[in-house]
Subunit: 339 residues, 2 copies
C-alpha cells in the first residue's frame, strides 16, 4: 500500500456542465477498517449520470448532496486489503459504494463479493451491476413488454440503454433507439441487434424519424434522456403504451430549467402509463435478476461495451465526457491494476 | 310529439373558447326507429368538458370529431316514445348517447334502462352515470388510495371532482381540492366533507397553499385541470404517489399550446406513477360500480349538486359556462319535462 490515499473531492458546485475545477485531487491517510468494515483498494470506478444530481447544493435528487470538499459518490469494484468482517477475506474482490478514491472503508454488509469465475470484474459495475439491474427492472417490471411490441429507447448506446434493447429482443420485441453519433447507431444495430436506430444530432424531425423506424407505433418507451427526444415519442405512442422514466440526462446540466410542451392530455387519449423508478426499489430481487443476466451474458444473448479511462486523476474528465455522450456502453475509470 | 325535431349542430369550429355562433339550432323531421332502435324524447342533456375536443377538426381526442353541421355529441336521459327493440317499452326511461337534440334514435343495445325507484333520473347523467363511474374507477382503480393517505383533486367542485373527494373520504383518506370560487371551496368542505380546499383564482402561490393544506404531502392526485395547478402538486408529492389524469380542462380552449416546466425528473426522485384513463376502459365493471355508488348515494355517504339550464336552445350557453367553471356539480340542460 502507498503511504497516502488519493481522493477526488468536490471543490465547487457545477453551474451547468461540470468543469475540471469543480473537482480536486487530495491526499489523505488510508483509513483502517473498524469492526464490521473492510478496506478496499479500488480497481475500477464507475461514473454515472446520477452523480450529477448529487453535486447540486439543493436536494433535487433522491439522495443527499455531496458536501463541499467531500469525496464524490460512486460505485467501485476492488480488492479487499484488510477485513474486519467475517464474510470477507483479504484478496477477495468486492463491489461497493466507495466513492472516487483509491482506498476506502465500507461496512461489509453493504459490499457484494464478486465471483471471479462468472465474468470480468468490471462487469460488476455494468452489465452485472447497477446499470444491468436498472435495464432489467426498468424494462421488464415497469413496462411489461409483450412479444411483438415495439420498444423505443433513448440513450440507446449507453450503459443502460444498450442492455434495454437487447433484453427487449430476448423477449421477442422490436427494439429501436436513439443515440448521438453515427458510430453509436451502427453499434447498436450491427453489434447489439437493435432493429433500427437514429442519430438525434443528425436528425431535425424526431417525430417523423421515430414514425419511420417504428411503423407500428411505440408500445414501450424506456427514457434515459428526456427533453425534446421524449416529446417526440408522444405522437408515436400506441394506445396503452407504457413509459419507464430511468434518466433525464438532457436536463441535468441546464443552468435554467427548460420549458416544454404540456404532454399530459396524451395520457387520456392514449391511456398511457408512466412510472419513474430506482434500481433500489427492486432490491429483494437483485440476486434473481443478476443470475438471469449472467446466464444471458454467458450464453451470448447479451453483449456489452466499456469505455475505460485510466487513472483516478482522470475521473472528472471521464465523468464530464460521459455526460456529453463521449462513452460507448459503460464508462469506467481504471484506478489500479487487477492484481 | 311536435311536428319537427330541434337539434343543435356545429355551425363553425371554435377557435379557443366556443362562442354562441359556433352553434346553430335547426329543425328537421323526427326520425322513425329502424329495427332494433328506439326513439327517445330528451328530458335532460349532459354537457361535459370532453365535448370540446370533439369540436376540433383534427383528431386530438379519443373519438372522431363532430362534422360540420352535425348534431353535437352528448349523453341524454329521456323517455322512449317508439320502440323497435324488445328490451324497451314505450314510456321507459333510458340513458343513451343521443346528442344535442330533442328527439333521436339509437340502437337499443347502446341504451341503459333507468330504474325510477333508485334515484332521480338526472343522476343517470351524473353521480350514477359517466361522471360517477369516472370518479370511481379513476380514483379507486387507477390510484389505489390507502386509508390515511392524502388525495388532492383539481376541479374539486365539478361533476367528477366532487365525487372523487367523497369517495376518498369513504376510503379513509384525507381529501383536499382546488376550485375556482370561494362558494365552491365552501361547498366542497362544508357540504361534501372535504378536509380542505382552496380557491386557485384567489391564490398566487399554489405550491405553498397545497403544502399548507396537505401537511403530510400528497399521495394521490386526481387531475381534472392540468396546467399550472398540476405543476404545483409536484413539489408536494410523497415518494410513491399516484397520479390519475382524468381531464386537462385548463388546456382545451387555448388557441396556442401552453409551454410548462418539464416534470419527468420528479418521476425518478419520487418514484411516481401516472396513468390516463377513459371510463370505457372499465366497461365490464360498470354495473358493479353503479351498484356501489347507488348504495353510497342512498345511505347518505355521497352528496351531489346539479346546475340545470332550461331549454335545448340554451345548451351552447350552458356548455360555454361549464367550460369557464360556471357550474357547481353536474351541468345539465333540461330539454323537456319528465312526464
Amino acid at each position: 500500500m502507498p503511504a497516502l490515499n488519493r481522493q477526488i473531492v468536490l471543490a465547487s458546485r457545477p453551474d451547468g456542465y461540470p468543469i475540471e475545477s469543480n473537482f480536486e485531487l487530495v491526499e489523505n491517510p488510508i483509513p483502517d477498517p473498524a469492526e464490521g468494515e473492510i478496506l478496499v483498494r479500488t480497481i475500477y470506478l464507475s461514473v454515472d449520470p446520477y452523480m450529477r444530481g448529487r453535486m447540486n447544493a439543493s436536494q433535487k435528487s433522491y439522495a443527499p448532496p455531496v458536501g463541499n470538499r467531500e469525496v464524490i459518490t460512486g460505485g467501485v469494484v476492488g480488492e479487499i486489503v484488510k477485513s474486519k468482517h467475517d464474510q470477507f477475506q483479504v484478496g477477495d474482490i468486492a463491489q461497493c459504494q466507495l466513492g472516487w478514491q483509491a482506498y476506502g472503508t465500507v461496512a461489509g454488509e453493504t459490499a457484494r463479493k464478486i465471483d471471479l469465475d462468472q465474468a470480468p470484474i468490471s462487469t460488476s459495475l455494468g452489465i452485472l451491476g447497477m446499470p444491468g439491474l436498472t435495464a432489467y427492472f426498468g424494462l421488464l417490471d415497469v413496462c411489461e413488454p409483450q412479444a411483438g411490441e415495439t420498444v423505443f429507447i433513448s440513450g440507446a448506446a449507453g450503459a443502460v440503454g444498450s442492455l434495454v434493447g437487447q433484453i427487449a429482443k430476448i423477449k421477442g420485441c422490436r427494439a429501436v433507439g436513439s443515440a448521438g453519433t453515427d458510430q453509436k447507431v451502427e453499434h447498436v444495430v450491427s453489434d447489439l441487434g437493435f432493429d433500427a436506430a437514429y442519430n438525434y444530432k443528425a436528425t431535425s424531425d424526431y417525430v417523423a424519424k421515430i414514425a419511420e423506424l417504428c411503423s407500428e407505433g411505440v408500445d414501450v418507451y424506456f427514457d434515459n434522456v428526456g427533453g425534446k427526444q421524449t416529446d417526440s415519442v408522444f405522437p408515436n405512442f400506441n394506445i396503452g403504451a407504457r413509459i419507464s422514466i430511468c434518466g433525464q440526462i438532457s436536463q441535468y446540466n441546464r443552468k435554467q430549467p427548460e420549458l416544454g410542451p404540456r404532454l399530459f392530455f396524451n395520457f387520456i387519449t392514449k391511456r398511457l402509463r408512466m412510472r419513474g423508478f430506482l434500481v433500489f426499489d427492486f432490491v429483494d430481487r437483485h440476486p434473481q435478476a443478476l443470475a438471469e443476466m449472467t446466464k444471458w451474458l454467458n450464453t451470448g444473448k447479451l453483449q456489452y461495451r466499456e469505455t475505460i479511462t485510466n487513472g483516478l486523476e482522470n475521473a472528472p474528465t471521464a465523468f464530464i465526457s460521459m455526460l456529453k455522450g463521449g462513452n460507448l456502453g459503460k464508462q469506467l475509470v481504471k484506478v489500479s491494476d487487477e492484481i
